[in-house]
């Protein structure tokens, strides 16, 4: 992804990977270019390029009209809205949560800090189906937190809120891990200067820390968002899967497949990929803007 690669250069402006020369291959005394590049390209072709080409070609057997009709049908449109809308909400919620945890991990020393640090990655290490059934057990109407929420009239599992919880769970490590190194390196001089000028903790966070963190935070949020949009395993157990309400786009792909609608399934898959790209590119543009302003 170019946008992601570009995002990286914002955080870490090293562009050694980008050749500026016009020759096809720069001479090197090291051997193995042919072998390594050959293996890389063949593998990439077989595993990624050919299958994705198939995904890009298959929908068009419906014709442009058919693809548009599929994607704008109420059920598909609703599923895309649910997937992208709830993912965005979860990713945005991860921003303050991730900031809180990253801040605590980098700024305070307390017993169990390393344990907490290690466990931030649990949502990544825990298989999604396991997370799915565990979260469903917790938030089902009969589960410990689900019953609590039900008392105040909140429906958690089998509602969009359930999807939101699962996607927040999945996305948290992306935000924490994106901002943690930046927070670690954040110039203390700037902060201390702010402090001597009489700013209190909250003002320092608002005026100094947040602007410096913004690009990394945004990149973490985009990653959490991208991951959430495609997420399947942890969501299908907790969502209730009601068409037009809590049916996510990846599930609708599976359902289309079950109805022999291969082209329709591929059309949704392609649309998701395209929207994800667009969203990430948009966030990236903002990020580049923020970084430029930060440097200026």
């Amino acid at each position: 992804m170019t946008d992601r690669a570009a995002a990286a250069t914002v955080v870490r402006p090293v562009t050694d990977a980008w050749p500026r020369r016009t020759r096809l291959v720069e001479h090197s005394i090291l051997p193995g270019l042919g072998l390594s590049l050959g293996v890389t390209l063949v593998y990439l072709g077989v595993i990624v390029i050919i299958p994705l080409t198939m995904l890009a070609l298959r929908p068009w057997e419906l014709g442009l009209d058919g693809v548009v009709r599929t994607l704008t049908s109420p059920r598909v449109a609703a599923a895309l809205r649910v997937s992208f809308g709830v993912s965005l909400a979860a990713a945005l919620t991860n921003a303050p949560l991730g900031l809180l945890i990253a801040w605590t991990l980098t700024r305070y020393d307390f017993p169990g800090r390393r344990l907490m640090d290690a466990f931030v990655d649990l949502p990544f290490a825990l298989p999604t189906a396991v997370a799915g059934i565990a979260l469903t057990t917790i938030y089902a109407p009969a589960g410990p937190l689900g019953a609590l929420a039900a008392k105040i009239g909140l429906k958690t599992a089998y509602s969009p809120l359930g999807i939101f919880i699962a996607l927040t769970f999945i996305g948290l490590p992306f935000v924490v891990r994106s901002i943690q190194p930046v927070l670690q390196d954040l110039d203390r001089d700037v902060e201390e200067a702010a402090q001597t000028l009489g700013a209190n903790d909250l003002q320092r966070i608002a005026l100094v820390v947040i602007p410096a963190l913004a690009p990394a935070l945004l990149s973490g949020v985009s990653l959490a968002f991208a991951r959430a949009v495609g997420e399947y395993g942890s969501v299908i157990f907790i969502a209730g899967n009601m068409p037009l309400k809590t049916e996510i786009a990846p599930l609708l792909i599976v359902i289309k497949l079950e109805q022999y609608d291969y082209a329709g399934a591929a059309a949704i898959g392609l649309a998701m990929l395209a929207i994800s790209f667009g969203a990430l590119a948009g966030m990236n543009a903002v990020q580049i803007f923020l970084a430029r302003r930060g440097r200026a």
Partner: protein, 298 residues
């Protein structure tokens, strides 16, 4: 760059830096509040699901838990999961090393396109990663007729599970190695070659020791994801009990059979795998922080 691709990798950098004295916030009210809030989020959002897995698995005591793990279908699922990971992970590791070698040691046109394509699988929904193989190799797919005529089974069999898993975990090792090897440059290899060492000797004696921990780190993450993958394999599995159900799919089957203890017992194996991964990862980060960090922050 890999901190953008994989969240966990970024934490590599933290322990090294954490050794520095930590600035303390002066206002006394805020710190405990922040700590409490963080602890609440961590326990409520992340800790609780883990506790629930083990609690539900042992809800009826140890014997039913052990019995669920001794079920032939459960054992078959464990074996299949190990088999799929044992094929997918080494292939992705070999690819990762090749790609990193080509990208870090040579200059050629189209490198940024190559990097983009390597990252691509991260933005694909797992379900789509399964779907593409059905479109290609399903009986109604592009090569369907050919495969049926020659009695070659890909989807609904082990090859399909492997392909789906490979696609989902494709970038893990490569994204771990590329930034590290770019940061290390080619000077050491060039020196070895000048001294008369052969290509493979140079790779084995010079490059490999330099990247071994990062490679292990990438393999670890790749393996965790490979063994736990659900969406992609669910599309290509065919759900034949004892034959094409991997452990995560076995969890789903038992869950849908109202066998809560069985489902959570199988889930606890996967959760255990997740915890082991976290422990190994943390150990690697402590022991080899410098080298791993080089790749992440260069």
């Amino acid at each position: 760059m890999s901190q953008l691709a994989l969240p966990p990798a970024a934490s590599t950098a933290t322990p090294a830096v954490a050794a520095r004295p930590i600035a303390r916030i002066r206002l006394p009210g805020i710190a405990p509040l922040m700590l409490l809030a963080s602890a609440a989020v961590m326990m409520g959002l992340i800790g609780l699901p883990l506790v629930v897995v083990f609690q539900e698995a042992l809800a009826k005591g140890l014997p039913p838990f052990l019995a669920a793990l001794k079920e032939p279908d459960a054992i078959a699922a464990v074996k299949l999961t190990l088999l799929v990971a044992a094929i997918a992970v080494p292939l992705n590791a070999v690819f990762g090393v090749s790609a990193a070698w080509a990208i870090s040691k040579f200059e050629f046109r189209g490198k940024s396109v190559l990097l983009t394509l390597i990252d691509l699988p991260f933005s694909i929904s797992p379900v789509v990663s399964g779907l593409v193989w059905v479109l290609l190799f399903g009986a109604q797919g592009l090569f369907g007729t050919f495969l049926v005529d020659h009695d070659i089974k890909i989807v609904f069999a082990v090859p399909g599970l492997v392909l789906a898993t490979i696609l989902v975990t494709f970038p893990f090792v490569a994204r771990e190695l590329i930034p590290l090897m770019q940061a290390q440059g080619a000077d050491e290899e060039a020196a070895a070659l000048t001294l008369g060492a052969g290509g493979f000797t140079t790779f084995r004696r010079v490059t490999l020791p330099n990247i071994q921990w990062a490679l292990l780190y990438g393999v670890l993450l790749c393996n965790a994801r490979a063994m736990g993958e659900f969406g992609a394999v669910s599309v290509v599995s065919g759900h034949i009990r004892g034959l094409t159900n991997t452990l995560p799919l076995h969890v789903e089957v038992l869950y849908n059979d109202y066998d809560s203890v069985g489902a959570f017992a199988a889930a606890s194996l996967l959760a255990g795998l997740g915890i082991i991964t976290l422990v190994l990862k943390t150990v690697l980060e402590w022991r080899h922080a410098g080298e791993l960090a080089l790749g992440h922050r260069s």
